[in-house]
C-alpha cells in the first residue's frame, strides 16, 4: 500500500524515489504524443527527474529559488516540478493561457530565476515582457518547433538539460549521492510549491504549500477514496490550478497511480475516451457542457433510438441513484436498469470515456440537481467536494452513499470546520497553506488567531443531512432595500441549471428588487434555433431574438417559483431580466480564468444596462470594448431589450429579517 | 440508416434459418425420385421437354396406379440450369432424403457425380449420356448409361452411312465431317471416330463449336462448304442444334447426309429449319408420337388435368418421349428393387440392384403400355451397365420426325475394347477408386 510510503516521505521527490522502488515497473505517466500513449514507469520517471535535477543544479539552481512552470499538461513540465523540488527549490506553475501581463506579474512577484515553458508561444509571451523580469535568466522549453532561429543565449531545450544531467550522473557516481543528499535535505515543512490563485478580485496571491502538509492531505483522501497504483487519471485541467496539482500530481505520487496527459486541448475528449480513467474530476461547467452535447447529439438520432434513450434515462432517474447508493429497489427496477445499462448507460459512459471511472468529483461551484442526478443515475459515482487553494483543495467531500446535489459533504478527514457568526465558513486542515508568498498582511487577514482559515464563503450545515451547504461568497451576500436576504450566486446557479443559460449575473444588493443579465448557451440555443427554423446570423442576433427571450422568460419564471418555495429567498425573485449581446469573456476580464463571474466589474462595464434594468425602460444601448483572440481590440455595440417578470406570491408573510 | 440494419439482420436470420431448415432430413414414407432438370439457361430448349416427359410419366403412375407397388412416388425437380455447380448442390440437397436414383441430364454434372455415387450410395442413371466408360459395371457399379453409349451411337451412324453408301467398305476415301459442341460431350466420340476412320479408310474433318458461338456457326459451315464432306455427323446440344440445321440448309448442304446423335434430334431442333430442314436425320431410341396407351394415359391423367407444364403442341414430341423413356427405366428399376428386397419403400441401394437387373423385353414394353415404343432393353448386366442396345434413324419431313430405319445395332466389337480401356484408365488415374463390392443379382 502506498500509505506506508506516504507515511515515511514528507516531500514529493522523496515520494517519487520511494515509488520508483515500490512500483518501479508500473506506469507513472503517459502522454499521447506522436499518435500513441508514450509511457514512463515510476523507475524511468525517477531516473529522468534525477538527471533533470542534476542538469538544473549545473545551471546554478539553488535551494529556495523559484522556477516558473508555464504550459499545458505535459510530462516534461511535471518533471520540471519534481526536479525543481528535488533541489529544494520551489516551482511556481502559471496558467498557460495567462496573458503576458498576468504572467509578468506572477513571474516578477515570485522572483523566478528560471522558467520551464512548453513551446514557442510561451517563449514569445515571456520575451515580450522580459524587460520587466530582471531576475529571469533562462527559459527551458519542451517543444523546439519554431525556436530554431531564436537567440539561444537564454534558451535551452529541456531534453538538453536532462541529457547533460544524465551524462554528469554517469560520469560521476558521487553526483548521485549528492543528489540523494539534496533530496533528503529538503524538509517537509519547507515550501513545496507556490500556487497563484486566480482571485475573483484584484491581483493573484501566491499560496505557499509545504510538502509535509500536502502529502498529509493527499494521503487522507487517497485512503478515503481507496485509490491505489492501479488507478489512472487524465491530467487535463490547468497545471497551475490547485485541483490538478492535488488530484493528479499529489494523489498520483501518494497512491502511485498513473497520470495521463492528453495530446492537446482539442483532442482531450478523444483522449479521455481512449485512456478511460478510473479517477475523474470535472467542474460542473464541464459536466454541463458534456450533458448538453449528449442531449444535442441524441436529438439527431432516429426516432426509435431517441425514444429508447429517453425511456431508459427515465428508468435511470427512477432507480439509478438508489441502486448506486445501495438502497432497496424493486426487482423490476433492477431488471429495467440492467437492460438500460446494456443499451444506454454502459455505451454512453463508454463513449464519454467514463466506463472505468470508480470515483469522480466535481467542485468549484454549485451543481444543478438534474445535472448531478443524471450522471449519478447512469452509474457514474460522482461526488461533490468543497475546497480552496488555501486548504490544498479539500475542506469537505462526500463519502460514498451520502451524496446530495445541494450540499458539499461533511468535513474531509482531519478537517475542522466552524461557521462564523456572519455565516462565513472557517476551517483548519492538514493540508492548509503556510501563508501567502511575500504577503504577511494578507495571510494575517484570512487567518483567525486560533489557526482557522476564512474561506470567504457563506454557508451552513444542513439539518437533514448534516452536510455543509454553501450559498455564496460571504461578502456577496447582501440585502434588498426591504431587507430581504439576497444571495446572488444562489439565484445565478439556479438559472444556470437551464441548458439554455450559460451565464447569469444577478443584482439586487441595496436595490428594490432583483434583476439578472443572462448569457445564452450558443450550442444549446443554436441547436434549438436550427430545429425550430429560427434564422440568425450572429450570436448577437440570436441573443436578441424575441423567441429566445420567450424561452428564457419561462426559465426565469421557474426559478422564481423555486425561490418562492424557500422562505429565506422568497422575497428575492427576479423582476426583470435581459440577455447580453456578447459572451462574458476572460480576455475582457469579465470572468476569471476559472470562469467565475467578476460581478462588480461586469456591473461597471455594463452600467447603462444596469441603469436600464432599474429605471423601467425596455431597451438600452450599450457599446463595449472587446479583446479578440489575437489580442486586437475592438468595440461592439448593441441595443439590448429588457423583459419584465411576474413574481410568484410569497407563501407566507414573514418577519423582516434583522 | 435504420432500414439498412434491419435488412441486414433479416437477411442474415433468414439465411441461417433456411439453411438449418434445408438440412433437415425428411421422413420417408414414400419413394423419393428427384429429377435434376433444367428449364432455364442456354440449354433449356432441350431440357424442358425432357423434364416434362419425366415429370409427367411419374405423375401419371401416381395418379393412375397410386405410385409403384402401392407406394406413392415423391417426385421433386431440382433445377440445375445445366450448371455443374447447381448440379452438385442439387445432389447435396437431395442426398439426405433417401433418393432412389439421380438423373443428372448433363454430361458435366454426371462427371462430377460419378465419384460421389458410390460414397453416398445413390445410383446414377445417365441415359445415353455421361461417361461412356461407366458402362463397365465392374468399375462403376453405381452408374448406368442404357440403352447405349455415345460410342455405340457413333458406330450406329457410321453403320448407317455405310449402309447408304453400299457397305462399310465403300467408305474408303470418303470424308465425314464431325461438328460438335466443344466440350467433353462433343469430344468424347472423337477417339472412336478416328479409329473407325483408320479401320474403314475414310477421312474425318472436325468442326468444333464453342459453347458461346453455337448460335452463329457461320465459319464452321463455311468450312464445311469448302471441305465438302460426304456426310456430316453432329454431336450438338441445346441451341446449337437448330442453328446448325439452319446453317446447313443455308449453305446448301444436302440434309439427308446430315445426321445428328439422339441429343440432336428433337422437334425444336429441326422445326427452326422448317421446310428447308427436310431430310435431316437423327438417331433415336424412344418412340415418336402419342399413339401408345401409356402416353394416352399421361394425357388423360396428367395433361388434361392441368398437372403438367407441357404446352399442348409439344406434348409427346421427341424429347418428351425421351423423358418418358428415361422414367420408364426408373420405374422398372424401382419395381425390380421392390421385388428383390421385398420392401415397399426402396432407397438408392435397392434401386441400384433394380437397375442392374433391368430387363425390358418387347413384351414387357407392351405390358407397360408402350408397344413398339422402343427396342428391347435386355443387354444390361452387372458387367454391362449400358446394354449396347440399338437405335433407329429418324428423318425430318418438314413438319415432324419419321422413323426411317429399323434398329441399328452398334459395333459392339469396336466399342467394347475402347470402353474397357477407358474404364481402366479412369480407375487408374483416380487413385483410391473403390473396388466393386456390390453383389450381383440375377436378372428377373
Amino acid at each position: 500500500m502506498a500509505s506506508t510510503v506516504a507515511a515515511r516521505a514528507d516531500t514529493f521527490p522523496k515520494l517519487l524515489m520511494a515509488n520508483a522502488r515500490e512500483f518501479g515497473a508500473r506506469p507513472a505517466m503517459r502522454h499521447k504524443d506522436l499518435g500513441i500513449w508514450q509511457t514512463w514507469t515510476w523507475a524511468e520517471t525517477a531516473e529522468i527527474v534525477r538527471a533533470y535535477a542534476v542538469g538544473l543544479s549545473r545551471l546554478g539552481l539553488k535551494r529556495g529559488e523559484t522556477v516558473a512552470i508555464v504550459g499545458a499538461n505535459r510530462p516534461k513540465l511535471y518533471w520540471s516540478i519534481l526536479a525543481v523540488q528535488a533541489l529544494g527549490a520551489v516551482p511556481v506553475p502559471v496558467y498557460a493561457d495567462a496573458v503576458a501581463d498576468e504572467l509578468a506579474f506572477v513571474l516578477k512577484h515570485a522572483d523566478v530565476r528560471f522558467a520551464a515553458v512548453e513551446d514557442q508561444e510561451q517563449v514569445d509571451k515571456i520575451q515580450s515582457v522580459q524587460d520587466r523580469l530582471a531576475r529571469l535568466e533562462l527559459m527551458f522549453y519542451d517543444e523546439a518547433r519554431g525556436l530554431r532561429d531564436y537567440d539561444h543565449s537564454r534558451l535551452r531545450p529541456i531534453d538538453e538539460i536532462i541529457a547533460a544531467g544524465r551524462d554528469a550522473l554517469a560520469a560521476d557516481a558521487k553526483l548521485g549521492e549528492w543528489l540523494d543528499g539534496e533530496i533528503a535535505a529538503t524538509k517537509g515543512s519547507d515550501p513545496s510549491i507556490i500556487l497563484y490563485t486566480s482571485g475573483t478580485t484584484g491581483q493573484s496571491k501566491g499560496v505557499v504549500l509545504s510538502g509535509e502538509r500536502s502529502i498529509a492531505a493527499a494521503t487522507d483522501t487517497v485512503r478515503f477514496d481507496h485509490l491505489n497504483e492501479h488507478d489512472v487519471a487524465l491530467a487535463y485541467l490547468p497545471l497551475a490550478w490547485v485541483g490538478d496539482h492535488y488530484l493528479n500530481f499529489a494523489q498520483g505520487l501518494v497512491a502511485g497511480f498513473c497520470m495521463a496527459c492528453p495530446e492537446n486541448a482539442d483532442t482531450a475528449t478523444a483522449d479521455l475516451r481512449e485512456i478511460g480513467p478510473s479517477f475523474y474530476f470535472a467542474p460542473p461547467r464541464t459536466l454541463e457542457a458534456l450533458l448538453t452535447r449528449v442531449m444535442i447529439r441524441m436529438e439527431d438520432a432516429g426516432a426509435l433510438k431517441r425514444r429508447m434513450f429517453h425511456y431508459f434515462i427515465g428508468v435511470a432517474r427512477q432507480y439509478g441513484e438508489r441502486i448506486l447508493n445501495g438502497e432497496k429497489v424493486p426487482l423490476s427496477g433492477r431488471i429495467l436498469y440492467a437492460i438500460g445499462n446494456l443499451l444506454v448507460y454502459g455505451p454512453l459512459k463508454n463513449v464519454l470515456g467514463f466506463s472505468r471511472v470508480r470515483v469522480a468529483y466535481t467542485a468549484g461551484e454549485a451543481i444543478g440537481p438534474d445535472l448531478f442526478a443524471f450522471y449519478r443515475s447512469i452509474g457514474l459515482n460522482l461526488k461533490q467536494l468543497y475546497g480552496q487553494t488555501e486548504a490544498f483543495l479539500y475542506v469537505t467531500c462526500q463519502p460514498d452513499g451520502a451524496i446530495y446535489s445541494d450540499t458539499v459533504g461533511p468535513a474531509a478527514p482531519h478537517v475542522d470546520i466552524r461557521i462564523a457568526d456572519n455565516g462565513e465558513v472557517l476551517f483548519r486542515s492538514p493540508g492548509m497553506f503556510t501563508g501567502y508568498f511575500k504577503d504577511e498582511a494578507k495571510t494575517a487577514e484570512v487567518m483567525t488567531p486560533d489557526g482557522y482559515v476564512k474561506t470567504g464563503d457563506a454557508g451552513f450545515f444542513d439539518d437533514k443531512t448534516g452536510q455543509l451547504k454553501i450559498i455564496d461568497r460571504a461578502k456577496d451576500v447582501g440585502k434588498l432595500k426591504d431587507g430581504t436576504l439576497f444571495a446572488p450566486k444562489y439565484i445565478e446557479n439556479k438559472l444556470k441549471f437551464f441548458p439554455n443559460i450559460r451565464e447569469a449575473v444577478a443584482y439586487g444588493d441595496g436595490r428594490d428588487f432583483v434583476t439578472v443579465m443572462l448569457n445564452i448557451d450558443l450550442t444549446a440555443v443554436g441547436s434549438w434555433a436550427e430545429r425550430n427554423n429560427v434564422a440568425y446570423a450572429s450570436y448577437q442576433e440570436l441573443a436578441g431574438h424575441p423567441l429566445v427571450y420567450d424561452m428564457l422568460e419561462k426559465n426565469v419564471a421557474e426559478v422564481n417559483k423555486a425561490l418562492a418555495a424557500d422562505k429565506m429567498m422568497a422575497g428575492a425573485q427576479v423582476k426583470r431580466f435581459l440577455v447580453l449581446h456578447k459572451e462574458l469573456d476572460a480576455d475582457d476580464g469579465e470572468v476569471t480564468r476559472t470562469q467565475k463571474v467578476r460581478r462588480g466589474f461586469v456591473a461597471e462595464r455594463y452600467a447603462p444596462l444596469i441603469t436600464a434594468l432599474y429605471d423601467g425602460s425596455h431597451e438600452a444601448d450599450i457599446s463595449t470594448e472587446v479583446t479578440f483572440e489575437d489580442g486586437r481590440k475592438g468595440v461592439i455595440s448593441a441595443r439590448v431589450k429588457i423583459r419584465d417578470m411576474k413574481t410568484e406570491p410569497v407563501p407566507a408573510p414573514m418577519e423582516k429579517a434583522a | 440508416m435504420k432500414v439498412r440494419q434491419v435488412i441486414m439482420g433479416v437477411a442474415c436470420a433468414g439465411l441461417v434459418a433456411t439453411a438449418i431448415y434445408a438440412s433437415k432430413a425428411q421422413a420417408a414414407d414414400d419413394i423419393y425420385v428427384p429429377l435434376f432438370t433444367y428449364r432455364t439457361g442456354p440449354y433449356a430448349n432441350s431440357g424442358i421437354p425432357i423434364a416434362n416427359g419425366m415429370h409427367d410419366y411419374l405423375t401419371m403412375l401416381n395418379e393412375r396406379d397410386g405410385g409403384i407397388g402401392g407406394v406413392k412416388l415423391n417426385v421433386e425437380e431440382c433445377e440445375t440450369g445445366y450448371d455443374t455447380k447447381k448440379g452438385v448442390e442439387c445432389w447435396e440437397s437431395v442426398k439426405s432424403k433417401n433418393p432412389t436414383v439421380v438423373n443428372p441430364f448433363s454430361t458435366g454434372i454426371t462427371l462430377q457425380l460419378i465419384p460421389k455415387a458410390s460414397v453416398d450410395k445413390i445410383p446414377i442413371l445417365s441415359m445415353a449420356y455421361g461417361l461412356s466408360a461407366a458402362a463397365v459395371g465392374k468399375d462403376f457399379p453405381w452408374v448406368f448409361n442404357p440403352p447405349a453409349t455415345y460410342w455405340d451411337g457413333l458406330s450406329m451412324i457410321i453403320k448407317y452411312i455405310g449402309e447408304k453408301e453400299g457397305g462399310l467398305a465403300k467408305l474408303k476415301g470418303k470424308t465425314i465431317g464431325y461438328i460438335f459442341l466443344d466440350a467433353g460431350y462433343g469430344r468424347e466420340p472423337i477417339p472412336l471416330l478416328e479409329q473407325l476412320a483408320k479401320d474403314y479408310g475414310f477421312n474425318v474433318k472436325l468442326y468444333p463449336v464453342a459453347g458461346k458461338e453455337m448460335q452463329d456457326q457461320s465459319s464452321q459451315w463455311l468450312s464445311v462448304r469448302r471441305d465438302r464432306p460426304n456426310w456430316m455427323v453432329m454431336w450438338g446440344w441445346g441451341a446449337m442444334n437448330p442453328t446448325a440445321v439452319k446453317r446447313a440448309s443455308e449453305n446448301g448442304y444436302p440434309m439427308d447426309h446430315f445426321i445428328g446423335v439422339w441429343w440432336s434430334g428433337s422437334d425444336d431442333d429441326a422445326r427452326g429449319g422448317g421446310k428447308a430442314a427436310k431430310g435431316y436425320l437423327a438417331l433415336n431410341f424412344s418412340g415418336l408420337g402419342s399413339n401408345y396407351p401409356a402416353i394416352q394415359d399421361i394425357k388423360k391423367y396428367v395433361v388434361d388435368k392441368g398437372k403438367s407444364q407441357v404446352e399442348k403442341d409439344k406434348f409427346a414430341d421427341t424429347f418428351y418421349n425421351r423423358g418418358v423413356y428415361n422414367t420408364v427405366l426408373v420405374a422398372e428399376a424401382i419395381r425390380n428393387a421392390q421385388k428383390l428386397t421385398g420392401k415397399k419403400v426402396v432407397v438408392g441401394e435397392d434401386v441400384r440392384r433394380g437397375l442392374e437387373t433391368l430387363h425390358i423385353t418387347e413384351a414387357r414394353w407392351k405390358e407397360l403400355g408402350f408397344p413398339g415404343f422402343a427396342g428391347p432393353l435386355t443387354g444390361i448386366s452387372c458387367a454391362d451397365h449400358s446394354g449396347h442396345q440399338g437405335a433407329y434413324m429418324q428423318q425430318w419431313d418438314g413438319d415432324k420426325w419419321v422413323k426411317v430405319s429399323n434398329l441399328i445395332e452398334p459395333m459392339k466389337d469396336k466399342v467394347e475394347p475402347l470402353l474397357q480401356d477407358a474404364a481402366k484408365e479412369y480407375v487408374d488415374k483416380a487413385t483410391g477408386w473403390p473396388k466393386r463390392t456390390e453383389a450381383c443379382d440375377k436378372a428377373m
Binding site: L34, G35, I36, R145, G146, R148, D149, N264, D266 | -
Partner: protein, 267 residues
C-alpha cells in the same frame, strides 16, 4: 514575418538542379520553348507566369512526367535528357499537385505512410507475415510519419479518409506526403490555390518551416504575388512557354516584360 531584405541568405548553397534549353510540345503545340534556369540548394524558388505559361509543364518535366523534346536537366550533378518519374523520386524530388492528388480511399496517415514507400525495403516474405522486420520497419516509419503529422498539426485527422477532409487540410496532408519522402527538392504546384487568407498564412508558415527545419530546397508555382514575393528567394517568370525574367522578387517586380505580361493583368 521576415526582414524585407530577401537577398539570398547564407543557407543557400550550390546549384542543385539546372534546366538547360528545355522545349516541350504536345502534338505541335509548344508548351515550353528553350527555357533555362537553375535552382540552388536550400533556396525557395518560385516559378510564376500567367495561365498557360507552361509552369506546371515545367514541373512535370523536372520530375520526369513529361519528356522534353529538347534540352537537358542536371540534378545533383547528373545530366540527362529525360528523367523517369521514379528516378526523380529516388533522386530526391517530391511534389504536390495543383489539384490535390491524394489517394482518396486512404486515411491521412496511410497517405503519408505511402510517401515512405521509397524508404522501405523489407522483403515480400516478411510482408506476408507482417512480423519481425516488416513490423519493425512499419513502426520505424510510422514514427517518422508521426513527426510529420505533428509538424503539420494534423493529429486529429490522422485516421480520417482524406476524401472527407476540407480542401485546406487535404493540401496539408499532401504536403505531408511529399515531406515523408524526405526530398532534397520539393516541387509545390500552387500550394495555396483556393485557400482563404488564414489558410494561406498557415501554408506559408509551413513552407518556410519546411525550408528552415528540414533545409529542403523548394520550387513553387503560385499565383498569389504577395505570397510569392514574401516567400521566395528567386523568381523565374514564364510566359507562353518562354522565360521572360529571372531574379530576386524585387528585380522581377521591376522588370518591364513581367509587368507587361503578368503584373499588368494581375488583379
Amino acid at each position: 514575418m521576415r526582414a524585407p531584405d530577401t537577398a539570398p541568405r547564407a543557407r543557400v548553397g550550390d546549384v542543385l538542379l539546372s534546366v538547360e534549353d528545355v522545349s516541350l510540345s504536345f502534338g505541335g503545340v509548344k508548351a515550353i520553348s528553350g527555357v533555362s534556369f537553375d535552382i540552388r540548394q536550400g533556396e525557395i524558388r518560385a516559378i510564376i507566369g500567367p495561365n498557360g505559361a507552361g509552369k506546371t509543364s515545367m514541373l512535370n518535366v523536372i520530375n520526369g512526367f513529361y519528356h522534353p523534346q529538347q534540352g537537358r536537366i542536371t540534378f545533383k550533378g547528373r545530366t540527362r535528357a529525360k528523367m523517369r518519374p521514379y528516378e526523380a523520386a529516388y533522386g530526391g524530388i517530391a511534389r504536390t499537385f495543383q489539384n490535390v492528388a491524394l489517394f482518396r480511399g486512404m486515411s491521412a496517415l496511410d497517405n503519408i505512410m505511402a510517401g515512405r514507400t521509397l524508404k522501405m525495403n523489407v522483403n515480400f516474405f516478411w510482408q506476408l507475415l507482417r512480423y519481425g522486420p516488416a513490423m519493425r520497419e512499419e513502426v520505424e516509419h510510422r514514427r517518422v510519419v508521426e513527426e510529420i503529422i505533428d509538424f503539420l498539426k494534423i493529429q486529429e485527422i490522422r485516421r480520417t479518409p482524406v476524401g472527407r477532409l476540407p480542401y485546406g487540410l487535404q493540401k496539408r496532408v499532401e504536403l505531408g506526403r511529399a515531406l515523408a519522402m524526405q526530398p532534397e527538392l520539393l516541387l509545390l504546384d500552387e500550394p495555396m490555390a483556393g485557400m482563404n487568407l488564414e489558410e494561406k498564412e498557415d501554408m506559408s508558415r509551413f513552407i518556410l518551416d519546411v525550408n528552415e527545419y528540414y533545409g529542403t530546397t523548394i520550387a513553387l508555382i503560385e499565383h498569389d504575388m504577395g505570397v510569392v514575393m514574401d516567400l521566395s528567394d528567386r523568381v523565374v517568370v514564364l510566359d507562353h512557354g518562354i522565360k521572360i525574367a529571372d531574379g530576386t522578387p524585387d528585380e522581377v517586380k521591376r522588370d518591364q516584360a513581367v509587368i507587361d505580361a503578368y503584373l499588368g493583368v494581375a488583379h
